[in-house]
């Protein structure tokens, strides 16, 4: 029986590309448990509880509809502005809340990191899944809005494709979170920087406006942002809005995959001494 025993070897880690993905898979239940913890803890002792997941994007949608839709009168490709906006706010809210909570996850989880072994990548990753639950709840409002405005709904196979467009959002948020949370261990500056990054990020992503607002020769810059692809994909699959620039957006997705991979490499690097410095 001893031949079949697990064997753990503790020795100085070397090499760059030991990402320990198998271990990540072995701890998948922890990922689920932490994602669930993040969610329940957030809404404990609040009166309306998880309804906040719906209320927050709705309130934001109301404010932005007035400012950008009514006052600034931004075009929205024939779709009623609130519907157009909400379809963009959903993935953006997911992205920004995942980033802002995951970037501080290693510092917040210091006690766990110091006292027990588990693949540390699970900490930031757990927030990627917490946000998905919020997003799915808030989706309900989108369908309500579409019915209210009698938007030209495209009941067709392409509607089933919207979860597919979440993938690049998860990958991009995951990659960026790994970088930010690993850097935040050494540089608390990250903690102050993230809110501003996200604020700027929202305006270089077509959340409140359409890509076509920009002159055609600059649109490719916007399309390199992986979140542009996500939002355009959402609007295409749910609202039937035509999309241009698939090529550039594909490149954006490829970039986010590269960012995730590089993030994992850097994270594992920081991971070596994490318990000593957190």
């Amino acid at each position: 029986m001893n031949n079949k025993r697990l064997e753990y070897i503790r020795q100085p880690r070397r090499g760059w590309f030991d990402l320990a993905l198998g271990e990540l898979w072995a701890y998948r239940d922890l990922l689920a448990a932490l994602a669930w913890r993040n969610l329940t803890v957030r809404y404990k002792q609040s009166v309306i509880g998880i309804a906040w997941a719906i209320l927050k994007p709705v309130l934001q949608m109301l404010v932005f509809s007035v400012v950008f839709g009514r006052l600034a009168n931004l075009p929205s490709d024939g779709v009623p502005y609130p519907v157009f906006l909400y379809a963009g706010l959903l993935p953006w809210t997911y992205f920004s809340s995942a980033i802002s909570s995951a970037s501080g996850s290693l510092l917040a989880g210091g006690n766990m990191i110091n006292k027990v072994y588990f693949p540390r990548m699970i900490l930031p990753f757990s927030y990627l899944f917490t946000g998905l639950i919020d997003l799915l709840l808030a989706m309900a409002v989108l369908f309500g809005l579409m019915a209210w405005y009698r938007a030209d709904m495209v009941f067709g196979p392409q509607m089933l494709l919207f979860p597919l467009f979440l993938l690049p959002a998860i990958v991009f948020a995951g990659g960026l979170s790994l970088w930010l949370c690993a850097l935040a261990v050494r540089y608390r500056d990250i903690h102050h920087l993230v809110p501003y990054l996200l604020q700027v990020g929202m305006f270089v992503t077509p959340v409140v406006y359409a890509v076509q607002l920009l002159p055609a020769r600059f649109q490719w810059i916007l399309q390199l942002n992986p979140m542009t692809g996500v939002i355009e994909g959402f609007r295409w699959s749910l609202l039937g809005k035509p999309v241009e620039g698939w090529g550039m957006m594909g490149l954006g997705c490829a970039l986010s995959v590269a960012l995730l991979f590089a993030g994992m490499v850097y994270f594992r690097r920081v991971d070596r001494t994490l318990a000593d410095i957190v």
């Binding site: 503790r10 072994y117 690097r269 001494t273 000593d276």
Partner: protein, 420 residues
């Protein structure tokens, strides 16, 4: 005899060094800090060339003074941090209990925390579900499982956390000082559970300051001193060596005083009245031992004691297992009387007819205002041996392992006991 199975844990030349000071050395960090020159950071060698092996089913203790590297060693074995050199091989599923309730979230209920804590320790949900009933029963918290953990007492939290860990069914259990909290009954239960774990062919590594627990639980003990292996062997031998080594490391001045500096006050902003102390014999020579039935004379140097005219100086003698054996203070001896007082004073406490059997003991010193407050205290600062004497006048020599207290008495044979 050829061993059928190799040792379950083998450590070879394990070493760990920490960088002191600010850490800004990795390449991504340098992007942000161009220009700041990266001089060699000073290193602290927390562990150095640690070799040992543990057989399957052993309960293996790790002892040593604070900062000797015990926790670092355990963290390396648990995989929490990597060694800087050497390697260790562990054959079997590991559970580490370095702090109870790791990952417990105060807002979550007991039930939610059992699942969270279990998955953190490496279990799958399915396994926790199977064990859940037994976990709750072991913790004795059936009524509280739907209450948020923040409303638990610390003892309840420990019970729940230990219950989860005890049901992990690991092949190797790493435990660090978790028994320091919790009431006596539960401590016994935990010790029992650990023994059961060990009895089932499992291996336990146990780090503790509690020599009674170590001696009670462990087969073999490793003593660390400043990151190196100082001794390794049968529990009682190593514990005795440890007790003597702490004595040797104390700084003595020319007059035999053990200094208490540097140290932290017992309470924030409490004055540090106690400066140094020594033991002396009848001829006022500094000693490190006393005799059973003899006198125990302690000189205590104080600073600023005159500012507390109603304060009392006391001593508490403890066994090697840290049990308090007796307490004696200046109020018991009738106080100091109306004498002129000075900022730097020496107080003599003298105990007559010391009722301790031969063995090693330690002493706490304290200054307090009776019934009001503790002013200053130093724990375990004076180590001393009690040497056997012919207390009974017939050559019988008593030892501490037969019982700590030396008593006097009589005996007689009074014929055959009649049937009642």
């Amino acid at each position: 005899m050829s061993r059928a199975s190799p040792p379950i844990i083998v450590a070879e030349k394990l070493g760990k060094s920490f960088q002191l000071g600010e850490i800004h050395r990795d390449w991504a960090a340098r992007l942000f800090r161009r220009g700041a020159h990266a001089g060699p950071a000073p290193l602290l060698q927390a562990l150095c060339d640690v070799d040992f092996s543990v057989e399957e089913g052993e309960v293996f203790g790790i002892i040593g003074a604070n900062g000797a590297g015990k926790s670092t060693l355990l963290k390396i074995l648990a995989g929490i941090t990597d060694p800087s050199s050497g390697r260790a091989v562990l054959r079997g599923r590991i559970a580490s209990l370095l702090e109870v309730g790791t990952g417990f979230h105060p807002e979550l209920t007991g039930r939610e925390n059992v699942f969270l804590n279990g998955t953190i320790l490496g279990l799958h949900r399915r396994e926790i579900r199977e064990e859940y009933g037994r976990i709750v029963e072991f913790a004795g918290l059936e009524k509280f499982m739907d209450t948020p953990v923040k409303r638990y007492s610390s003892g309840m939290q420990v019970r729940l956390a230990f219950a989860v860990a005890a049901h992990l069914r690991p092949e190797i259990l790493l435990v660090d000082e978790v028994l320091a909290v919790g009431d006596i009954a539960f401590q016994r239960k935990c010790l029992g559970a650990m023994k059961e774990v060990a009895g089932g062919g499992r291996t336990v590594l146990f780090v503790s300051h509690n020599m009674a627990a170590v001696s009670n639980l462990c087969d073999r003990v490793l003593m660390l001193r400043q990151g190196r292996v100082a001794a390794i062997g049968p529990a009682d031998e190593v514990i005795q060596a440890y007790i003597h080594s702490t004595e040797d490391s104390r700084a003595l001045d020319g007059r035999g005083y053990v200094s208490f500096h540097p140290r932290q006050p017992v309470l924030p902003q409490a004055p540090l009245l106690l400066q140094a102390a020594r033991l002396v014999d009848e001829e006022e020579r500094p000693v490190s031992s006393a005799q059973t039935g003899g006198a125990l004379r302690v000189d205590v140097r104080l600073e600023g004691f005159d500012r507390y005219p109603s304060a009392v100086v006391g001593l508490t003698v403890r066994s090697v297992f840290d049990q308090k054996i007796f307490h004696f203070n200046s109020a018991m001896a009738g106080g100091f009387g109306p004498v002129p007082r000075h900022p730097g004073e020496k107080v003599r406490l003298e105990i007559q007819a010391l009722p301790l059997m031969a063995g090693a003991y330690s002493m706490d010193l304290l200054v307090f205002e009776p019934g009001v407050r503790l002013i200053d205290r130093v724990d375990g600062v004076l180590q001393f041996d009690v040497i056997e004497s012919d207390l009974y006048g017939n050559g019988y020599r008593g030892e501490a392992r037969e019982g700590l207290i030396a008593v006097q008495g009589e005996c007689a044979i009074e014929g055959v006991e009649d049937d009642p």
